[in-house]
């Protein structure tokens, strides 16, 4: 609609706008470009000083090495990918169902302690997770869940963020809709699945995006709750590839691994981004 050039007069503010956006955008892209170019660098270029930003002779060696190194060790790389997908997938799916189930009565049912429960949620948003780390670890290790997928999933299911977002979002849905469904004979369970869930879609998308990024990237649970190599998730495995003394030669492999790791998160963002912005506008964050 508004082109850069209106008639014959040059629209300076439009040009200014796009120059700035592109400039900042490039700065934002730097880490990704750096990672991509590092992952393509041959060994001869990896350790140049001063370090070069772009690659001169791109090669796919690092990706091949990644498969080779991890292929010769006793756990194949695909196992880490599988673990990560299972854990993050279940955290996101379970989190959505549990949070939606809890948000529904909190927003729409009139019952005692409703306010208290909601305040508890808001307060727990402020807790830094670190205070909880120690007892959570003791709890898991005592209950014998160590080295089990459940240990990586269960502690993250009851997410205060998801609950908060969904409750705020649900409050804007008119009661009349729910009444209509009830009069037509729908049970509460049916109301939740056929009326609430579809309307909650934007909030669900936002929560899915955040919790997926969180779960996918966090090496902490695997580091603490697992001791066996074949239960590790991707972020922890990548840390192991890069970490420790004497593995300097794997910088390129590391870059390749991290590069592969971002791809799913970008995919999730692209899928959810339209819905995400909708929720932010309506979630009542402004109150």
């Amino acid at each position: 609609m508004h082109g850069i050039v209106k008639g014959r007069r040059v629209d300076w503010s439009g040009i200014f706008l796009y120059v700035f956006l592109t400039g900042f955008g490039l700065l934002m892209l730097l880490p990704l470009v750096y990672m991509a170019s590092t992952s393509l660098k041959p060994v001869s270029e990896l350790f140049l000083f001063p370090p070069r930003f772009l690659v001169d002779h791109p090669t796919l060696m690092n990706f091949r090495d990644l498969l080779l190194i991890t292929g010769t060790s006793f756990v194949p790389f695909s196992r880490y990918i599988f673990n990560s997908i299972v854990v993050s997938g279940l955290i996101v799916a379970g989190g959505i169902v549990i949070s939606a189930m809890a948000a529904f009565p909190l927003a729409k049912h009139n019952m005692p302690f409703r306010g208290a429960i909601f305040n508890m949620v808001v307060l727990s948003l402020m807790f830094s997770p670190m205070v909880l780390q120690i007892p959570q670890y003791l709890l898991i290790s005592r209950s014998g869940l160590m080295n089990h997928y459940l240990a990586l999933i269960l502690p993250y299911l009851a997410a205060p963020v998801g609950m908060f977002l969904m409750t705020q979002f649900l409050r804007q849905i008119p009661d009349a809709l729910l009444e209509a469904a009830r009069i037509d004979g729908a049970s509460e369970w049916k109301v939740l699945w056929s009326v609430i869930m579809p309307m909650l879609k934007p909030a669900i998308a936002t929560f899915a995006l955040f919790s997926f990024i969180q779960a996918w990237n966090d090496p902490y649970p695997a580091m603490v709750y697992t001791t066996k190599e074949d239960m590790k998730t991707l972020p922890l495995a990548i840390q192991t590839i890069s970490g420790g003394a004497g593995v300097i030669a794997r910088v390129g492999t590391f870059a390749a691994a991290s590069f592969l790791m971002i791809i799913p998160t970008i995919a999730v963002f692209v899928i959810t981004q339209r819905l995400v912005l909708q929720t932010m506008a309506h979630s009542g964050l402004k109150e």
Partner: protein, 292 residues
């Protein structure tokens, strides 16, 4: 079925509500409330492993005293995170607001730019970000490559130049940290009704006036949300020094009691900072509402 009929509709409604919340509450109690209580208990006890599991002996405030008197790392690290927070949060807010304003104006390539600005949130995860920082990716390459420091040193005294350049160095970090804030601002900007802008235009307001009299007051709540979010984020980031210190205490030295004590001290500290922010904003929120 029989039982169901006897209950009144109201009670049934309530019961159904509780059943729906139940899974969440169970998870919350098990993995948040109980651990929180336990860690509070541990903070006052010395924990020693024995054949009966961990044995706790009451030590009172010893650990809290230890944090302030014997631990040489805790206070300096706390101060370091505090300075990082004070310098970075305002920068993040200004940058996020500026970017959001620009993004809101853009009509072409909206989705693309939005994605680009959100990208760092996706990449900036613990493991990868830390590795990139180690490799010096956060430093703007211009300062090193073109020897800017020595060239500038001719004109500006070194004592001033050094902190300024350090500040500029952390700018990239600031930008990468502001993805979520940009999204929140953007959402806030989109809720402002265009009628207000039209009215201002009819009354002959300049763009500068429109920003300060309409846009700024209208997104005041978003500024509060963003400030809180940035502060909590800067305190709980994976590369936060106090967090690392705590991890070391707990998982290298296996000192659960002392770790819990420090965790609680840190939490209290964050809580006080957030409280101050709330107090500051309450005043400006009130004036903003009065104007609307």
């Amino acid at each position: 079925m029989n039982l169901k009929m006897k209950l009144s509709i109201r009670v049934r409604h309530m019961l159904e509500g509780y059943i729906f919340i139940l899974p969440w509450i169970v998870g919350f109690l098990l993995f948040m409330a109980i651990p929180l209580g336990r860690s509070f208990y541990y903070a006052f006890h010395r924990l020693e492993p024995s054949e009966h599991g961990l044995v706790a002996t009451f030590v009172g405030f010893t650990y809290f005293r230890q944090a302030f008197t014997t631990d040489v790392d805790f206070l300096p690290l706390l101060q370091k995170t505090m300075t990082a927070m004070v310098t970075q949060v305002p920068l993040i807010l200004v940058f996020a607001m500026f970017s959001a304003l620009l993004l809101n104006k853009a009509s072409r390539g909206k989705v693309f730019f939005r994605g680009v600005f959100f990208l760092p949130v996706i990449i900036a995860s613990g493991a990868i970000l830390r590795e990139l920082l180690d490799q010096g990716a956060a430093k703007l390459p211009i300062f090193v490559q073109y020897d800017l420091f020595r060239k500038l040193a001719f004109f500006i005294p070194e004592q001033i130049l050094e902190p300024v350049l350090e500040y500029a160095d952390s700018l990239t970090l600031v930008m990468w940290d502001s993805g979520v804030q940009i999204l929140i601002f953007l959402a806030g900007l989109q809720t402002i009704s265009p009628i207000l802008y039209e009215a201002a235009k009819c009354d002959g307001a300049t763009k500068w006036e429109v920003f300060w009299k309409i846009t700024f007051p209208m997104i005041m709540p978003m500024i509060l949300v963003n400030t809180l979010f940035s502060i909590v984020n800067s305190f709980t980031k994976t590369d936060n020094h106090v967090m690392n210190h705590l991890m070391n205490i707990v998982f290298r030295n296996n000192d659960y009691g002392y770790g819990s004590a420090i965790g609680w001290l840190y939490f209290l500290f964050i809580f006080i900072v957030l409280g101050i922010i709330f107090l500051i904003f309450r005043k400006s929120m009130a004036t903003a509402e009065g104007r609307a």
